[in-house]
């Protein structure tokens, strides 16, 4: 063994390298205050290891990025832990960098002969921020997509070269496959290579100049890097690792939003917290001045920091630099706080955030469903999901007249009073029982806002049903079961099959006095006048689609239709959109394994 090592040393000289690396002389001895650089090196080691493994499972394309990240997060053994460590270590790295930078500023360690190393450090800061920016897009979720759009839009505002720069960054005019491949090449190739180069230069120069010894330590005995300083560095790195691990376990890992959708508004778009100050800062610049706020002023501030080694040569230069540093820090803290405070008191933002969380959760449920993610991708899966799309379509197309549990489907209460019935639970026994309740048919939840409040149905309920005897009420309950069974609601399947005999009785009662639905409604072969909507298949998918298609058609309201648009005939909604609304209202969607 020794012979082999001797041979290796003879050919490579590794012992000399190891010796100079490990037994570096530390004037004044090992200190806790010297650990920051080593914790950053450790953080980069963690990012490198976790990043390469994530790389082995990640797919950089518009139909595979979200999907592969979902797979890492939910299907791979320990994938959530791996991604969580990478995600939160990235954020801790930024904090460590700022602490390191602050220490260098306070100690005046940027002064001669360490100017170049200070600039290397600033370069590293810029590269790490670049890694954060590019990494934020890679999961291709709504959050990363829209936040990154802002960043590339800012790039496009650069005078003269802006549009070309944006097109190069985005890999075309629109976000797509090439945006991901290019961001990924930056994130996993170009930027890490730059970081490795700068870290080598940084450490080389640091070894050349040595630590900046604080005055009070000057008298202390000297030490060596190994093992005294290494022990302190290792303990600090362990604390960093434990902190990140605790955050990952506490949060359950990194969040994955709903798949990116360029056509779906996303009011909750915010950059990561460490860019939040820039986001807030941009609010203060009127149209046409964004480039000043996003590029010129931050560029000047960065330039001022870079000039610190030169400014520091003057008598009051160091104090001036400290003032600048403190002012920047205070500004960043204040802007971040302002952004947070504005968002937390903004009901629209909170609602948008809740909706985003709902979509994200739903995307996860659907991806894990037996049907899984279709070849067209997760976005297609979400677009054909009644539970996701139904409420949005309802809010846009139905809620100007109808309500859903009193709201517009998305939880907002429209300003105007409803002029049509509340469709939550439409087709169910409970809904019908309300319609046939003399006290409720005239309310806003049913016919209150419509012409039908003065129609024959309302009259029948308010006069006829109101005077029913107890046995007639029992019969009415069976009729309700029978009519509701026509809807074949998934949620009522068990009740419908349990009450087969009552439903059969109800069907007969529908044609007899005193209830006699068939006096005005068609039911099977029974009809006398055919005034109201057909009851055959009432509330079923086909019935509701027909109603949406053309409520003014004879089987439905005919000429009694009170203002409901013929969504299909007039092509206000596509067939798919009508199906999504109907399936959502009927509760006909995948509910998840726990249901």
């Amino acid at each position: 063994m020794n012979d082999l090592l001797n041979w290796l040393d003879d050919r490579t000289g590794y012992r000399g390298l190891l010796k100079s690396a490990l037994f570096e002389h530390i004037p004044g001895g090992a200190r806790w205050r010297y650990v920051w650089g080593s914790t950053l090196t450790f953080a980069m080691f963690v990012q490198f290891v976790t990043g390469v493994v994530l790389w082995s499972a990640y797919s950089a394309n518009a139909q595979g990025a979200w999907e592969s990240v979902w797979y890492i997060q939910n299907q791979m053994l320990g994938g959530w832990l791996l991604r969580g460590i990478h995600h939160y270590m990235a954020q801790v790295t930024i904090i460590l960098l700022l602490l390191h930078l602050m220490q260098v500023m306070i100690d005046g360690a940027y002064r001669a002969p360490r100017e170049v190393n200070f600039w290397f450090g600033l370069g590293l800061l810029a590269l790490v921020l670049g890694l954060s920016l590019t990494g934020y897009l890679l999961p291709w979720d709504q959050k990363g997509f829209w936040a990154t759009k802002v960043a590339t839009s800012i790039a496009s505002m650069t005078p003269v070269v802006g549009p070309a720069m944006q097109q190069l960054l985005v890999g075309g005019v629109e976000y797509g496959h090439h945006t991901l491949t290019r961001f990924f090449a930056l994130h996993a190739g170009v930027l890490p290579a730059g970081i490795v180069a700068l870290v080598i230069g940084h450490v080389y120069l640091f070894r050349r100049h040595g630590v900046t010894v604080p005055p009070k330590a000057a008298a202390a005995p000297d030490g060596v890097f190994w093992p005294d300083q290494v022990l302190k560095d290792a303990v600090a790195s362990l604390v960093v690792m434990a902190t990140v691990l605790a955050i990952v376990l506490w949060t359950g890992g990194a969040h994955l939003g709903a798949p990116a959708d360029a056509t779906e508004p996303y009011a909750a778009a915010r950059p990561e917290w460490y860019f939040l100050f820039l986001f807030q800062w941009l609010k203060y610049f009127p149209a046409g001045w964004e480039v000043v706020g996003a590029q010129v002023i931050p560029g000047l501030v960065f330039g001022l920091v870079a000039a610190m080694p030169i400014i520091g040569r003057w008598r009051l230069g160091h104090r001036f630099n400290l003032g600048v540093g403190a002012a920047i820090l205070a500004g960043i803290v204040m802007l971040t706080w302002l952004a947070r405070a504005a968002d937390n008191s903004d009901p629209d933002f909170l609602a948008a955030k809740a909706e985003a969380d709902r979509d994200a959760h739903r995307a996860g449920v659907l991806a894990a469903s037996p049907a899984g993610i279709p070849p067209a991708g997760a976005l297609e899966m979400l677009r054909s999901d009644p539970l996701t799309q139904g409420p949005k379509l309802f809010a846009a197309s139905c809620a100007s007249c109808h309500r859903y549990e009193g709201h517009d489907g998305l939880g907002r209460i429209p300003g105007d009073a409803p002029t049509a019935s509340d469709l939550a639970g439409f087709g169910s026994r409970a809904w019908l029982a309300g319609l046939l309740d003399p006290d409720r048919i005239g309310t806003e939840a049913y016919f209150g806002g419509t012409e039908h409040a003065r129609g024959r149905m309302a009259r029948f309920v308010q006069r006829g049903v109101a005077g029913f005897s107890d046995s007639e009420r029992m019969d009415l309950a069976k009729v309700i079961m029978a009519v509701s069974a026509e809807a074949e609601l998934p949620s009522q399947a068990a009740a419908d099959s349990a009450d087969v005999s009552a439903i059969a009785e109800g069907r007969v009662l529908m044609t007899q006095e005193p209830i006699e639905c068939t006096r005005c409604h068609t039911f099977g072969e029974w009809t006398e006048e055919d005034i109201g909507p057909v009851l055959t298949g009432w509330g079923s998918r086909a019935w509701m689609l027909g109603m949406l298609h053309d409520p003014a058609a004879e089987p439905y309201y005919g000429e009694d239709n009170d203002g409901m648009p013929s969504f299909g005939v007039e092509q206000i909604l596509s067939r798919e959109q009508m199906e999504l609304i109907v399936d959502w209202l009927r509760g006909d969607w995948y509910a998840g394994p726990e249901h």
Partner: protein
């Protein structure tokens, strides 16, 4: 390594403890990302093939009556990583009439996994990679053929008169026994 220590160390015992401590603490911190990474990297080992059911491949009328083989694509449901395919090509088989029924051979060469073709003179199966040679029953017909076993036959069922159903499977190449993957 011990002999490399600078001589000015006055407390070798303390130094040893500090060294051990530094190495151990450093190892504990480093093991976290390494273990998380290794676990995720080993994840594919957890994934087996789902039990292969019978798949409808074609109608009997599409299989040549003269007993010569014809290639058919096998389509089936497949989960590829995160993508669920309802019906997608998963492989190919040679079908040929034999007796009253149909015989099926997997097109993959048992030697090194190439796609076995039909020789230009249509007299035998010939692998384009390493010249494995099989007769139309899939049996090795050349002593120089490098394949360790005959072509892999698959279970076939005729249903409803003319439906050809095949239990599609792939097998480990390069070994004498036929082991499903």
């Amino acid at each position: 390594m011990t002999d490399e220590r600078p001589e000015q160390q006055k407390e070798p015992r303390r130094n040893f403890l500090v060294s051990m401590g530094a190495a151990m603490v450093g190892a504990v911190a480093s093991i976290v990302p390494l273990a998380a990474g290794a676990t995720a990297l080993l994840d594919p080992l957890r994934r087996g093939r789902e039990a292969s059911g019978m798949v409808l491949v074609t109608r009997l009328s599409a299989v040549p009556e003269d007993g010569s083989p014809r290639k058919f694509t096998v389509e089936s449901a497949r989960v590829d990583g995160w993508t669920s395919h309802a019906n997608t090509p998963v492989g190919a088989v040679y079908l040929r009439r034999s007796g009253n029924g149909v015989a099926a051979l997997n097109v993959v060469c048992p030697h090194a996994g190439c796609f076995v073709g039909i020789a230009p003179d249509r007299s035998r199966f010939a692998c384009p990679c390493h010249k494995s040679s099989f007769d139309f029953d899939g049996v090795i017909n050349d002593p120089a053929s490098p394949s360790p076993r005959d072509m892999d036959s698959l279970e076939v069922e005729l249903r409803n008169g003319d439906e050809v159903w095949v239990r599609f499977q792939n097998f480990l190449p390069g070994r004498e026994d036929k082991t499903a993957v």
